[in-house]
Amino acid sequence: MYGTQSKRDLALEFQSQIPILRPSIHARRANLTVKFQDLYGFTVEGNVDDVNVLNEVREKVRQQGRVWWALEASKGANWYLQPSISEGQSLKASLKLSAMANAITLKRLIRKGIPPVLRPKIWFSLSGAAKKKSTVPDSYYNDLTKAVEGKVTPATRQIDHDLPRTFPGHSWLDTPEGHATLRRVLVGYSFRDSDVGYCQGLNYVAALLLLVMKTEEDAFWMLAVLLENVLVSDCYTTNLSGCHVEQRVFKDLLAKKCPRIATHLEALEFDVSLVATEWFLCLFSKSLPSETTLRVWDVLFYEGAKVLFHVALAIFKMKEEELIHSHHVGDVINILQKTTHHLFDPDELLTVAFDKIGSMTTNTISKQRKKQEPAVMAELDQRLRRLNSLKLDDK
């Protein structure tokens, strides 16, 4: 139960409409916890310093917007939506060169953040969602939601149970309209891929996609491209095998990139899955503040799933000294949870993630995954057999 201290009682309510948050001098002096809504309508609790950081972040978002507009002015609108180099085989050499230059500019630019107004368009195009949608008839999503209306499955029952438990208190998500919209997206997807059906965690991912994308249909396609192309496969299937693989790859990466931390945590018998399960399944949406999460997603949709490792490693790296002085598994989890909840400045995290972790290619990560898969499958198989024999005993 993170952050349920009595400080909450002292919380001051801030109106969401106020663009710049101005904590009172009293709040400053008393070092009170204040409650306010962030850019995406989430209620945030933090101290006065956190409020100031968020104000700075808003200003940086505005500045970053100006950079994007300036580039549009010089390179033409939608320059970033041009085919990537690999697809443009038949392009002339000069065009190839400009495409390459654009790709380099774009990578750097995206790591610095996509302005919120451009996110729907850029995510949709760069993630491959647009392409995925273009391969089926225009009416696909409408037909799907109509066809599954009123159907009851274990997945729909679980979805109904989880709707009110998805970011409760959010100004739009936690309304009848928000619930109904999120339900259509999740139920629709559970029928599109019955191997996945519905897995807890997807509710958070889909909810945040709904807040960013302009339409629920686009949110649906973003969810589809994430699960089918961006993330490792089988991340959300019944035994979460893909997620197990990612945890093992992550454990090895931690040992390689942050050996001091890994050695210490091993001695405490701390297993990374205690914190990383939530990170990998909710793609940080339940752990990091919203703008920080979306900045991670900006890069995720352009550079792929390896980004999740960069970010997860960065969180450990940022707290190296504290972590190696921790004595218990509980302390470790507390440090990491507190850190993620308060990462209001996305650049603080992303700078570490991309400048201090060292490069990791998608290729090496794929090899790591291949290496871990047999062990994961064997372990899951063993568990299944154990539980099956239990069922036989009962008969």
Binding site: Q200, C243, D271, S273, L274, K286, H328, G330
Partner: protein, 211 residues
């Protein structure tokens, strides 16, 4: 605050049976019908006094959906007590108890004390599992048993405290080697005379974590 012992508890059971609500009722004495879904690990902590000894309970709460059960192995490690929860209004949550127990036996300390809780006793008009069935299951499997309500707080306090009393009894009977942290028990600072074996080997620790 100093304590004689720190016990690690885990709460297990199907999704939606009220694990997080039981925890919140115990630690904060309030009921929050709508709360965030638990995916990773959440903590709660509270001091209790048993036989005039201050004991700190550190309670771990996690996801209940079937697929997550393949991940929670490290969650069981070092737990001295477990609350195994089902919902008296949903039969299937009772039917799954055996496989939860199997996971617990596989991953937890064999001496872990387990309290079976039939939650949502305030919804007795929608009851799908009788109290006798709960009692019977507990008896067959050597578990403590209570029906409780996280909403009205009925038996919530008792569930946590009776489990702690059982653990304490086990310590006094020498069932646990408290010098070994995998027992889920830590010995605190300023502890008065305790059972032999605990005094010499145990590392005195102040519980710095989890509030």
């Amino acid at each position: 605050m100093s304590y004689d012992y720190l016990f690690k508890y885990i709460i297990i059971g199907d999704t939606g049976v009220g694990k997080s609500c039981l925890l919140l009722q115990f630690t904060d004495k309030r009921f929050q019908p709508v709360h965030d879904l638990t995916i990773g690990v959440e903590f709660g902590a509270r001091m209790v006094t048993i036989d005039s000894r201050p004991i700190k309970l550190q309670i771990w709460d996690t996801a209940g959906q079937e697929s997550f059960r393949s991940i929670t192995r490290s969650y069981y490690r070092g737990a001295a007590g477990a609350l195994l929860v089902y919902d008296i209004t949903r039969r299937e949550t009772f039917n799954h108890l055996a496989s939860w127990l199997e996971d617990a036996r596989q991953h937890a300390n064999p001496n872990m004390s387990i309290m079976l809780i039939g939650n949502k006793s305030d919804l007795a008009h929608r009851r799908a599992v009788s109290k006798e069935e709960g009692e019977q299951f507990a008896k067959e499997n050597g578990l403590l048993f209570l029906e409780a309500s996280a909403r009205t707080a009925q038996n919530v306090e008792e569930a946590f405290i009776k489990t702690a009393a059982k653990i304490l009894q086990n310590i006094q009977e020498g069932v646990f080697d408290v010098s070994n942290e995998s027992s889920g028990i830590k010995v605190g600072y300023g502890r008065p005379q305790g059972p032999s074996g605990a005094r010499d080997g145990a590392v005195a620790q102040r519980g710095g974590c989890c509030g």
